[in-house]
């Protein structure tokens, strides 16, 4: 406080202050501003209200789920006995749950890779399909494709599921209509979702259909963010379109691809809506049953809340392992090298 006073005195000292430069840099004494009502109410409301809602409806249930998973609680009885890891033991010896987990793993392996490869191909076609001379340009009149591709993302997943359920309909569906009109009469009343050989593939196609456009738009945005000089330099060095895509584009949008891979994987581990809409019972021979469906059934139909919570924990752990694996693979294959600009 004294220091500040001395300074003000010197400044007020007229001529000398102008001639004599400040030898010491100005020192501002940091001190806490008095807590006014304005400030206190600001912090309480701005931080308190959102946090209260978040803690009560999101974090608290997450924490409770771990606790429930160690009990045999059936929800409506007041008694919950601690049974340790018995629920988990039960899950890993339950054939149906293991089948569901297998289906989830199948989805996690195929869904992200198929969706991302196809959307990358489409994004590349849009962005480098233009002339190979002059300014670097995308394909002409390609904004139409981008707008159309995004349509499925705006449609609620449940509506997508119901719509495709009708398209796959054995007798009145669009798909069999097209196939039979092309002369393939063996598909006259083929039940795509009713045959265990095709149910999973047909379901995967629906999910891929719903997401290709979104990731295509995402990748197009990423590619457009790459400076044109880089593409010009590559072209001058004699790189063709394919080479440019593989050696320039993909390394530079690697982070976008990783994000997309993780999102798609998390979706594949859930997949509840699509499965519920296309084959709510788990499909022929449980061929499209997934863990989330089994969780829902165990909790809200059978009332075994302890067991269902254990399934939730398994699902969460699977999600974390998957994300960790994607990060690890990306790192091991050179993703940590600094290629960003």
């Amino acid at each position: 406080m004294t220091l500040v006073k001395a300074k003000t005195l010197r400044v007020g000292d007229g001529a000398s202050a102008v001639v004599v430069p400040d030898t010491a840099p100005p020192v501002y004494k940091r001190r806490r501003k008095p807590l006014t009502f304005d400030k206190i109410s600001f912090f309480v409301v701005f931080l308190g209200v959102p946090l209260a809602i978040y803690l009560l409806f999101v974090i608290w249930p997450f924490i409770q789920a771990f606790g429930y998973s160690l009990t045999d609680w059936s929800g409506f009885s007041p008694k919950q006995n601690f049974i340790g890891l018995q629920n988990y033991q039960k899950l890993f010896t339950d054939d149906i749950f293991m089948k569901a987990m297998g289906n989830n793993i199948l989805l996690v392996i195929f869904l992200p890779i198929i969706t991302i490869v196809l959307s990358l191909v489409l994004a590349t076609l849009v962005t480098v399909g233009g002339s190979s001379k002059g300014q670097i340009k995308g394909l002409r009149n390609s904004s139409f494709y981008r707008v159309v591709s995004f349509f499925p993302y705006t449609i609620p997943a449940i509506a997508i599921g119901i719509m495709w359920g009708q398209i796959y309909d054995p007798s009145g569906g669009l798909l069999n209509g097209i196939l039979t009109s092309l002369g393939m009469d063996q598909f006259k009343s083929y039940a795509w979702l009713g045959d265990k050989n095709t149910a999973m593939i047909a379901t995967m196609f629906v999910i891929v259909w719903g997401f290709i456009g979104f990731y295509m738009v995402l990748f197009v945005a990423g590619i457009k963010g790459i400076p044109a000089e880089l593409f010009e330099a590559a072209r001058i060095d004699g790189a063709g379109r394919f080479r440019t895509a593989v050696s320039i584009t993909i390394p530079l949008i690697r982070d976008n691809i990783q994000t997309a891979y993780i999102y798609m994987g998390i979706l594949a581990l859930d997949a509840f809506v699509y499965m519920a809409a296309l084959n709510s019972g788990g499909g022929p021979d449980n061929s499209t049953l997934v863990m989330s469906q089994q969780l829902f059934f165990t909790a809200f139909t059978k009332g075994q809340f302890g067991l269902a919570s254990a399934m939730g924990v398994v699902l969460a752990v699977a999600t974390l392992i998957f994300s960790g694996l994607v990060f690890l693979v990306n790192r091991l294959t050179g993703g940590d090298k600094d290629v960003s600009l």
């Binding site: 304005d38 409806f57 190979s132």
Partner: protein, 297 residues
Amino acid sequence: MTTKIASQEMKSLHFNPRKPAMTKGDRAVGAVSHTALSIWSLIVILPLLWTFMSSFKTSSEIFASPFALPSQWRFDNYVRAWTEAGIGSYFLNSVIVVGSALVIVMVLGAMCAYVLGRYVFFGSKAIYYLMLAGLTFPIFLAMVPLFFVMRNIGLLNTLPGLILVYVGFALPFTVFFLFSFFKSLPHEITEAAALDGAGEWRTFFQVMLPMAKPGLASVAIFNFLGLWNQFLIPVAINAAGPRVLSQGLAAFAGQMGYAVDFGALFAAVTVTVVPVLIVYIIFQRQLQGSVSQGTSK
């Protein structure tokens, strides 16, 4: 005038750097690209068009031929879907729930992101990581305990309960996205506002919030799509309550199984799809901008 002369000169030299000739290879690549993209567009559009067309048919017409146009453009499918199947009231419920949740989460999310992004205090990092954790864990993990939380506070199967849960689950994404946005706004502006005598509240609502409009718009679009399409939360904690659209649609499709009113089902799907599609086509430029913003962070 000068440009005209310049371009004439160029022409006389048979040299035009602006429009390079397309080589044969370019044409081939262009043709292949257009073909591939057109096929993809067809795969996207055909199912939608077919659904739209079928929504005007009777059930027997649908089964007679999947391609034939309806014998007449009748709207009674829509009337039945809207009133008898209750799609009209579900639609209204969805508008109420999503609308309220969106407004609340945008305000609360912006406030929380602003405090976290611009003030350093004890625990601010911890709160930020808590938000990130909410983004990582699958919603499924929370469903069972959430059911009992809602029952204990008496909001199970009610629209206000649904709104609060929507707000809770949309909050981490909103905060996470707006956090970096508020952080990047220059500090001089807050100082100027403080010098002009604005308190913390006023600085936020009259200075910072208007500046964050582009970021808010992007987040709002994604939150809207996410909440409008939400299926699991209403099915789990609002099973016996007033239904929202996605939930009602599923129930309608599930219960009719054998009753076969496919025309009305197609009409219900169309009613669900078309409004959002129209809004998307109007705002598609902004939306595609937000996709690129949202992923570069």
